[in-house]
Amino acid sequence: MNDLQAPDIEWVALSPSLIVFGAAILGVLIEAFLPRKQRYYAEVAVSTLALAGAFAAVVGLAASGHGTDDAQVAGMGALAVDGPALFLQGVLCLVGLVSVLLFAERRLEPALHGASVDSFAAAPAAVPGGPAEREAEKAGWTTTEIFPLLLFAVGGMLLFPAANDLLVLFIALEVLSLPLYLLCALARRRRLLSQEAAVKYFLLGAFASAFLLFGVALLYGYAGTVSYAGIADVVSGEPGAIEPGLAGTMGNDALLLIGGAMLVMGLLFKVGAVPFHMWTPDVYQGAPTPVTGFMAAATKVAAFGALLRLLYVVLPGLRWDWEPVLWGVTIASMVGGAVVAITQTDVKRLLAYSSIAHAGFILAGVVAVTEDGVSSVLFYLGAYSFVTLGAFAVVTLVRDSGGEATHLSKWAGLGRRSPLLASVFALFLLAFAGIPLTSGFAGKFAVFRAAADSGAMGLVVVGVLASAIAAFFYIRVIVLMFFSEPKADGPSVVIPSPLTSTVVGLAAVVTIVLGVAPQFFLDLAGQAGVFVH
């Protein structure tokens, strides 16, 4: 009966996620104890500081070389603190930070009963249009819980790409998903859609994570351990050599393959790759736009991080097994997303499909199992997330009596009404389309080059054609905004508070800078290209 020794945990190395989770809990406490009036400010302050702090921590870690030379595995092998992890965590912190600004925006909605309100339901639990809701609105309640939820989600996302064993992978997945499910249901306008989105997202998400979990189980069954390193050893090496005792029960390739496939499927779902993409359009459309922006940007980053680690650390030995499959998924996503997007009529759905296509492009970088591949994906994710945030931020600004005017036909002639905003949005669209001098192009080039370098020229060609198709619908929106006469009853662009303006401005700047002078960030991503084992 030996006393169990306390696990030794590198608090510093884990500081980013710890800070965020701490702040999240603090946020919950605030909800519990502070009077309504002060919650908003308190929450905003806490989340901003937390995310900023987390970012600082990430930078600190990276500066102290954790990203490159002394990358390590922390928390008893549970979490990796290495280049990719830190890079993505940095991106995620920034995305979270920016999203906080979007969440906190309170000037878009017309003031209710003298109280300025945000784009989240006053009483999410209440029946839409019911007495309870009216009560809540009269009382000027607002759902400040969104901030802790956001923080929890970010926390989960910070863990996701760092997860170094299957347990943490699964936990992180759930921690990031559950808050998102809730956030989806909180729209102030069009609540039915919002709730529907939540239901769909939740059920399908749960379904997917069940698959992932079963995959975890099978892998565990295969390797007898849940740590990536352990599994990798078994995959690459001769099981008996590692643990003679378990030689009998280990190394059953069927388990490995099936388990691996299910695991990958769970991640592809989060990424939104064909054929696991179908939730994306509906959820993107139904969720409150700030949340959509956050999801679209952050979830992709986190999920791709996890996928990269899984494929590069655990399954490189199986490359020849999963590569063809991923090729299929990649092509399906690029082409499918682009083609279906052509006929979309709703901005948010359009962006959803475009995100599917982009998932495909990023996958093209993933399948190139090279260091270049990793860094190109990292860069792409960084670039893409900001363009996405910016785009959705713009969407929140174009409103008419019924709230956001997301139907494309209403965007006709926007370029005449407010050239500046339209130009910025056009910039984002061009970035999506991968026009040179925008971040989108740099990313696309990096990814495709990595793919070509690893001999996947075919993928590049398909990708190029797909982006040609994709270009078509981005252009369509631009045509609509600039070349068609503005409608008399068209939507108007509300002048937002500095919060949203900052977001849009920032996104635009990042888009340009990453397009014109990406070298610095490419270096960053380049240094961050190595996974710790």
């Binding site: 005449r416 050239p419 040179p436 590049v460 252009i475 070349f483 006469e485 990406p518």
Partner: protein, 549 residues
């Protein structure tokens, strides 16, 4: 490092674009003058480039070179440099823009403004569109295009070239889609807007597809170089040297694929049959200056790039593709001319004529003789000026009558003799009459082609006759005969218009009578290109005894 002249030349219009765009809505005229000012400044700088360029024996191939690190990770450097061809093209670009600005002086005024009495959003509903500043936008975009075109002429780094080759589509696209000449066959504003945006989208998609195909090839090129050289590079000079040193050899298959990737992009831009259909729409729907910008400046990047990149990078593949390319070029020549004959719309007619002329240019390039390629280069210049003259005058005419249909005109020379005269000269230049610039280049192209491919040369000659036909028919139907109703009050050219057209005509005559300065600049570059593709001019059958003068 000396003063970065090329960068300055390209940057001036870019800055001009920003400044012009920033001018408040009310200050339309100020914006115009600013744009003109900047374009003139660019002309000065381009002239400086021309002067600084050394055509002497043993001068470097690429001069005024600049080289800065840019995106090391992609193996991309900010490398500029010009050979004779580049200099000539930059000069042409810089020179044309002020005329285009002058010609388009009022084209982009918002419909409500008195400049042109079209109906449109009135001032009472202005709040909705208060910040809409078409004029500023128009000139800013033109300058932006100029900047990018100049950069793509000066870029000696393939990736850098690609960037601007691709990026210039965007401002072009807005120019085409945003500003029509309000004279479409549809009488309704909406109908025209629809046609315009159709043309714009067509233009963009065509060129984007080409560009993306090229992107694949560019990536492929990088990979190929990365395989064989210490690290992958996009530097034209580096690749040329490497191949000269025998360190680099793509291998037949790869080289051909890469060549195709590049060539398709350029053939779409050029445009070469059967990838031409975007041009008539684009030129037909856009205002005359923009149409000129497309055909005289932007499209030249395509042919220029064939000359510099296709031949420079992939000599064997170029040689391999020559028969096909020449066939396509011939088809373009004849086909374009025949379709020009069949047009009812003035600007579309000129567009098809341009297609025919681009056929000549490509023909000259792939004839692989000094005359052919020198001629092709001259052709780019001359065609630029000639089309400018013809199209701009046509634009003035259209602006007066508000219709592009040839059938709406007739007997114009009675009311507007000067307009008719300039139009005729533009036309004669287009049919390359001796004494005007285009003749020199066209004949050189023909000789160059003929001396290697007799049959091709003879077929191309058919283009000469057809050119005479479509130009003269156009002139006869519009300018001569009894006066058509609605033209009685047609005013003759105004001073502004004259100041635009006359210098162009003077230039045409000068280029026709004394092209030597130009050929002196171009020749060395052509010789370099020929040595890239390891070709020499065919020897004459029986070299004549040089008779004493």
């Amino acid at each position: 490092m000396s003063f970065p002249l090329l960068t300055a030349t390209a940057l001036t219009p870019a800055v001009g674009a920003v400044v012009t765009a920033a001018v408040p809505a009310a200050r339309r005229t100020a914006a115009k003058w600013l744009a003109l000012l900047f374009s003139l400044a660019t002309v000065v700088l381009a002239a400086a480039v021309l002067l600084r360029f050394d055509t002497g024996e043993g001068a470097d191939r690429f001069q005024l070179t600049e080289s800065r690190a840019w995106i090391a990770d992609f193996g991309v450097r900010y490398e500029l440099g010009v050979d004779g061809i580049g200099v000539a093209m930059i000069a042409l670009t810089a020179l044309l823009i002020p005329f285009l600005i002058g010609a388009g002086w009022n084209d982009a005024d918002p419909p409500s403004s008195p400049a042109n009495g079209q109906e449109g959003p009135k001032d009472d509903e202005a709040p909705a569109t208060r910040r809409w500043r078409p004029t500023q936008g128009f000139f800013a975009l033109i300058l932006m295009v100029e900047a990018m075109v100049i950069l793509s002429f000066a870029a000696t780094d393939i990736f850098l070239f690609y960037i601007f080759f691709e990026a210039m589509l965007i401002p072009m696209y807005f120019l085409i889609g945003g500003f029509g000449d309000r004279a479409g066959e549809q009488d309704s504003e909406e109908g025209q807007a629809r046609q315009r945006s159709y043309a714009a989208v067509k233009f963009l998609l065509y060129n984007l597809v080409g560009g993306l195909v090229m992107l694949a090839a560019v990536i492929g090129l990088y990979v190929a170089t990365a395989d064989q050289l210490p690290e992958g590079t996009f530097s034209l000079q580096a690749i040329l040297d490497a191949r000269a040193a025998g360190e680099l050899d793509f291998g037949t298959g790869t080289e051909r694929w890469l060549f195709l990737g590049f060539f398709v992009a350029f053939a779409i831009k050029a445009p070469l049959w059967p990838l031409h259909t975007w041009l008539p729409n684009a030129m037909g729907e856009s205002t005359a200056p923009v149409a000129v910008l497309i055909t005289a400046v932007v499209d030249k990047v395509g042919t220029f790039a064939m000359l510099r990149f296709c031949l420079g990078l992939f000599p064997e593949a170029s040689d391999w593709a020559t028969p096909v390319v020449i066939t396509l070029a011939l088809v373009s020549i004849i086909y374009g001319a025949l379709l020009a004959l069949g047009q009812r719309d003035m600007k579309r007619l000129i567009a098809y004529a341009s297609i025919s002329h681009f056929g000549f240019i490509v023909l000259g390039i792939f004839a692989m003789t000094s005359q052919g390629q020198g001629g092709a280069t001259l052709y780019m210049i001359n065609h630029g000026v000639a089309t400018a003259a013809l199209m701009l005058v046509a634009g003035f005419l259209i602006a007066r009558r508000g219709s592009r249909l040839i059938s709406d005109y007739g007997g114009v020379q009675k009311t507007a003799p000067v307009l008719a005269g300039t139009f005729l000269i533009g036309g004669l230049a287009t049919l390359s009459l001796p004494g005007l610039g285009p003749f020199v280049s066209e004949f050189l192209v023909l000789v160059g082609t003929f001396s290697r491919y007799k049959a091709a040369g003879i077929v191309a000659c058919a283009g000469i006759v057809l050119a005479a036909l479509y130009v003269l028919i156009l002139y006869q139907r519009t300018m001569t005969g009894p006066l058509k109703p609605g033209l009685e009050k047609l005013p003759d050219l105004k001073v502004r218009e004259l100041t635009v057209v006359v210098p162009l005509i003077a230039l045409l005559i000068f280029l026709g009578v004394y092209p030597k300065p130009l050929t002196d600049i171009v020749d060395p570059a052509v010789e370099h290109t020929l040595s890239d593709v390891q070709k020499t001019d065919p020897e004459p059958e029986t070299p004549a005894v040089e008779a004493a003068p």
